[in-house]
């Protein structure tokens, strides 16, 4: 079985670049543009010859782009791996072959993650050559962490529901919103409740705060990594268990 799936790995990686790479780049570009516009960043602010302030703005904008890319690429890594497969009925055809659905889907998910890391690293390399140096291992690590957290959750949700993308967006947005409004919520006396809810949600806010140290190649606190990485690993393990129990839609 391993041989069959190993032989098929090339197709899965090729599918990532042929089908998902461009939409990932476009979607993350749009997301970054929207975020930058919301912060009032314009193209004229991004002049590399504009001194320290301008370079700092460029660096911050790059980190914004990186965050957008990492979230979108993480979600895209799981997109179509299970839910779309099932919705279109490919699973019945593929799993009449001597294959384990758990291994097939997990391999597809892992290869999409590798594709995302390659895509992110190549993009960062282009940026580093053309605009400003960045830490390539840091970028690769950040995309991998986002794949683990966002992708892991998307992988799990795509096994549970066909509407995994709206649900994923909702829970990520809920975590970010709770983090953003932590001050007012605490002032309103519901801080502990919000914190308890946030513990059950994916720690997207932690991922956001980690972008600067990753992109700048600064030392990362392992304790800060543990929550998002642990959450992602738990989601992937749960997804594999669910797949083992329910390999098909019904």
């Amino acid at each position: 079985m391993k041989g069959r799936l190993t032989a098929y790995a090339g197709y899965q990686l090729r599918d990532y670049f042929a089908i998902r790479a461009l939409p990932t780049l476009v979607a993350s570009g749009l997301a970054a543009w929207a975020l930058a516009a919301a912060r009032g960043v314009t193209l004229s602010d991004l002049d590399p010859t504009g001194g320290i302030d301008a370079r700092d703005r460029i660096q911050q904008t790059f980190e914004l782009v990186l965050t957008s890319f990492a979230f979108v690429a993480g979600a895209a890594a799981a997109h179509g791996v299970v839910a779309r497969h099932r919705a279109r009925g490919y699973d019945r055809l593929v799993f009449s072959r001597p294959l384990s659905p758990v291994r097939y889907y997990t391999q597809g998910f892992v290869l999409a993650g590798i594709g995302a890391v390659i895509l992110g690293t190549v993009g960062a390399e282009v940026y580093a050559v053309a605009v400003h140096p960045v830490s390539l291992p840091g970028v690769a690590g950040y995309v991998a962490l986002a794949w683990l957290l966002v992708g892991g959750l998307a992988f799990l949700l795509s096994i549970v529901t066909a509407f995994y993308l709206p649900v994923l967006t909702l829970v990520l947005a809920a975590d970010l919103a709770l983090d953003y409004f932590a001050g007012p919520l605490s002032a309103a006396g519901v801080g502990p409740v919000a914190a308890a809810i946030q513990l059950a949600l994916p720690p997207a806010h932690v991922l956001v705060t980690l972008r600067a140290p990753f992109a700048r190649g600064l030392p990362i606190d392992p304790g800060g990594l543990a929550w998002p990485a642990g959450f992602g690993v738990a989601c992937i393990v749960a997804a594999m268990v669910l797949l083992r129990r329910c390999p098909f839609r019904s």
Partner: protein
């Protein structure tokens, strides 16, 4: 005369020596949030032995596809037991795989025909050295070779059915399950399917076909079980007296003397290049026929069991190629 399917569940008597697909008192109920649970199958028992071709017939909504999905290990029955080669179907499929043609055929529309078959051959475990040959052979056998560069989404109707069959036979599986392969087939494709079933019939292979076309199914299979609204309306009745007469299909290749084949083996089908598929009731009649062929002056080049022939041809092609 009692038939294998009349005999009922595993362990019961019957003339089938080695049952490969066995469903015993299978029921399936689908839960529904909005309506009451729907009972798709109700106490269905069915058996297809090695060397047999079994048919399931019934109107639309009778439960045929559900039955096949259960047999292929893709659905779990609500009650009853299902076994392939004595083990739970999902385990069997993960170990050996089955040639399964679902209805409708779902494949990514952007794949090209040859690419789709190559991918599925790889996933089926066809060895890399044989993949190209197996894919080409399947395309030629099903008349898809000229469409090999077409995107799957451009294939409609009959061509799509043929692709469904091609992906099922691109690897050499012991269990073949075809869901509605006759639906919308024209005379030419039907003839191909008949020849295909003859070629695929083998000692150790069980073939299960579901179709609404009972008459054609009776022609293609050894027995047809009729189901309606999830219940068995007529258990499989054996068309032939014993399963012994379906013991083997062989490919006979002659150096010369092909004109005598039909006289000796009236059911022979020409596969081209002086090769014929013949169905015989065992080694004794095969040897008798071969002796008669030799007596008539024919010169034998090869005799192979039909299901082994594809690999032998692939090997020969590869050896020539290297």
């Amino acid at each position: 005369m009692p038939t294998a399917s009349d005999a009922g569940p595993a362990g019961a008597g019957g003339s089938v020596a080695c049952a490969v697909i066995e469903l015993s008192h299978v029921s399936k109920t689908f839960a529904s949030r909005s309506a009451s649970p729907a009972r798709a199958l109700d106490d269905v028992s069915f058996r297809v032995g090695a060397g047999e071709v079994g048919g399931i017939s019934g109107p639309a909504g009778a439960g045929k596809s559900t039955l096949l999905a259960i047999a292929a290990g893709q659905l779990r029955p609500s009650s009853g037991s299902v076994r392939i080669d004595g083990i739970e179907p999902r385990r069997f499929v993960e170990r050996e795989g089955v040639a399964y043609m679902p209805q409708p055929l779902a494949l990514p529309g952007g794949w090209r025909v040859s690419d789709a078959l190559t991918r599925l051959a790889v996933l089926s475990g066809v060895r890399p050295a044989y993949t190209k040959h197996r894919v080409e052979a399947a395309m030629r056998e099903l008349g898809l070779y000229d469409d090999r560069r077409l995107r799957v989404r451009l294939l409609k109707g009959e061509a799509r059915l043929r692709l469904g069959l091609a992906q099922a036979i691109v690897a050499d599986h012991r269990v073949i399950i075809l869901d509605e392969p006759l639906e919308g087939m024209g005379p030419e494709s039907l003839e191909r399917l008949r020849e295909l079933i003859v070629r695929l019939r083998a000692f150790d292979r069980a073939i299960l076909i579901a179709s609404r076309d009972t008459a054609e199914l009776q022609r293609l299979t050894d027995r047809v079980t009729l189901i309606d609204r999830g219940r068995t309306r007529r258990p499989g009745t054996t068309r032939r007296d014993t399963p012994a007469d379906v013991e083997g299909v062989f490919h006979i290749t002659l150096h010369h003397g092909g004109e005598h084949v039909l006289a000796v083996f009236p059911n022979a089908i020409s596969l081209g290049r002086s090769t014929y598929a013949v169905r015989v009731a065992g080694f004794a009649p095969l040897n008798r026929g071969l002796r008669e062929l030799l007596d008539r002056g024919a010169l034998l080049a090869a005799v192979t069991p039909a299901h082994a022939a594809a690999d032998a041809t692939a090997l020969a092609v590869n050896e020539v190629g290297t």
